[in-house]
């Protein structure tokens, strides 16, 4: 009876083409084919769409769009299918190793092209001049931290980042608690608070420009409701958006109006998730509603509050549309995203615009780190 020893195949000395070499050769081929499969979808998509648009360029946009959708969706599916069938034809051991890359590869390629490559490129650009060509060292960063308008934008953005999330969470949480006590009106009233989330920032800016509308005293009645109310109390009308530095807060109101619905929805769900027995126990112990809220409910939903706050902080950091449309960044209302676009298009200084973009990137790295870490913890528990 011979010993059936399990030998490590890599140790097999079978002359020149050892299994180890063969494996490396295989891996290389697998890698190559995987990359090819991954690139196939985006490339064919791009070529297909470009071809379609060029051929059909004479037709009205709507028709072109419909065709593009068909090519885009049906076409994408078709290419994935074709690649998958192609993989079916390969020897199974190869094919099965390539297949996952063919499926997730296109996404990775697009992510690399539109997010990863630009992230590196913009860092590089931040050290160049206005045209993104010659190297200028740290000049652009000096600009970011010393230019008067930039400093104002940094201060303002910081204010936005503190005021808007806190206010939205406070109002959202308060409203969620109140609405929770109603039965029939609850979902209706929550929908209405949530409604502004469907509106674009530009649309909301028009809405609120109208609210803040100002007319010099004596040139007719006020048509903006805020001045309407203000003058009804016997005051002179105020040009709200011109009041430095309070105009920033009037702009922040718009964002709060837009985003409170988000906080409210998340926190409302969180409140409803608080176990009843804990609440009962607190009430039996004699706590009144306010104490129940602060000492039982809030600690219980703290993780949701943190998620809402971080999400909003990141969103507010990028605030651009509101400032751009309402005041164009004038009268002391600059914010960093607005400064970036200002540098890109008005001042035409790509190097400085890139430096501001890098600043924004660096600002979110802590959150990125926390998210990744939280994800890894969750994954290890799966």
């Amino acid at each position: 009876m011979s010993d059936m020893q399990v030998q490590d195949p890599d140790l097999d000395e079978v002359g020149e083409g050892s299994l180890q070499d063969k494996r490396e050769g295989n891996a290389f081929l697998v890698g190559l084919l995987s990359i090819a499969a991954a690139i196939a979808v985006p490339l064919l998509l791009f070529l297909g769409l470009k071809f379609t648009l060029d051929v059909f360029s004479g037709l009205p946009d709507l028709v072109t769009a419909v065709i593009a959708i068909l090519v885009g969706v049906v076409g994408i599916f078709f290419v994935y299918t074709a690649v998958d069938r192609g993989i079916d034809r390969l020897p199974p051991r190869f094919g099965e190793r390539i297949r996952p890359y063919a499926w997730c590869g296109p996404a990775v390629v697009l992510l690399t092209l539109f997010l990863i490559y630009p992230a590196f490129n913009v860092i590089q650009l931040s050290f160049t001049d206005a045209f993104g060509e010659s190297y200028v060292g740290w000049d652009n960063y000096v600009y970011v931290f010393t230019d008067e308008a930039m400093l104002r934008s940094l201060r303002n953005t910081l204010l936005w980042v503190i005021v808007v999330p806190v206010a939205a969470v406070a109002i959202g949480l308060g409203f969620a608690v109140l609405a929770d006590k109603l039965k029939r009106l609850e979902s209706f009233s929550k929908s209405l608070i949530f409604l502004p989330m469907a509106i674009s920032f530009v649309g909301a800016s028009i809405v609120w420009r109208f609210v803040y509308s100002f007319r010099i005293e004596g040139s007719g009645e006020q048509i903006g409701i805020l001045n309407g109310i203000w003058t009804a109390f016997g005051n002179s009308p105020v040009a709200w958006l011109d009041q430095v530095p309070w105009n920033n807060f009037f702009l922040m109101v718009i964002m709060i109006w837009l985003q409170t619905g988000f906080a409210m929805v998340i926190l409302s769900a969180a409140i409803k998730g608080v176990p009843e027995d804990i609440l009962e126990a607190a009430r039996i112990d004699g706590a009144n509603e306010i104490q129940v809220f602060w000492r039982v409910v809030v600690p219980n939903i703290m993780s949701s509050i943190v998620v809402v706050l971080t999400t909003m902080i990141i969103g507010v950091l990028k605030i651009f549309d509101i400032v751009w449309v309402m005041t164009g960044g004038q009268r002391g209302t600059e914010v960093i995203a607005e400064r970036m676009i200002r540098n890109m298009f008005t001042f035409r200084h790509f190097g400085r615009g890139a430096a501001i973009a890098v600043f924004m990137f660096v600002a979110v790295i802590p959150v990125m780190y926390i998210n990744v870490r939280r994800f890894r913890e969750e994954e290890s528990m799966r």
């Binding site: 593009a68 539109f114 630009p118 009962e280």
Partner: protein, 320 residues
Amino acid sequence: MSATQAPVTDTKKEKGLKGSGGNVTSSGSTNVVRVIVLGIVLVWLVPAVGLLLTSLRERGQIEANGWWTVFANPIDFGWTLENYSQVLTSGGFDTAFVNTLVVSVPATVMPITIAAFAAYAFSWMEFKGRYTLFVLVVALLVVPLHVALIPILRLYAGGPTFGIPFTDLVINIPLQLNGTFLGIWLAHTGFGLPLAIYLLRNYIGSLPSELIESARIDGADHYSIFTRLIVPLSVPALASFAIFQFLWVFNDYLVAFVFLGNSVENRVLTIALAALNGSQGQAWHLLTAGAFVSMILPMVVFFSLQRYFVRGMTAGAVKG
């Protein structure tokens, strides 16, 4: 042996009070809460109501007095649809509306399709680098798209340029994608992929593995499992992302501003509205109507499909 008193908690649970369940609310204090809630809702809606009413008002009246006089004097308000017809025709908002749809729909369906395939691979296929790549996706969730604007703008303007190492040769693929719909579709697809992959992977990964395993035992390959099992089951997640992405792209200003531009033929609603605001800032009859035109579709979509939208948001809406 005699029945003990009925537990108090049960009757309170029957009333369906959650969260605040168990506390003794007299109908009086519920009425107070009702009034406060309605009050807040009313104040909350005032700006939008003011806009809507003003958009239906003729120009002369808008400049004469405040829109709130409608309550005192509803008949002489100056009702008209003229503003809408003007902003839609000579204002060019009809073209802008179509353009916005032309941008939004492909920019929604393309990322979803690509992300669905990727999400399936991340959930149910074994391959090297799976974990690392997904960690990359998670990291990219918070990267602001502002980071990509200048590089992509330059890429679209001249096309990619590579130098071949060890030679003086430079290859340039001439592309002119700035101001084109194709350019903005691709940009939105790229920007929307992290969130799409994240949401869909979470959902697809949480589908019962027994389903998929029994399908594999029956001899199904990944492709048929994906198309016949996973995609139909994932409709709620697909719908949630679709609505979220559609609204986001429809309402977007920045990406359209950078990649599509201001040309009257190509511009989207947000750009058209901002341009109107810049050139005719006091033409409230046009601005209010234009704003409402830009808001009506998102509001309808939002109201009718709210449930999906909320679900998409609660699943971690961190949009880059």
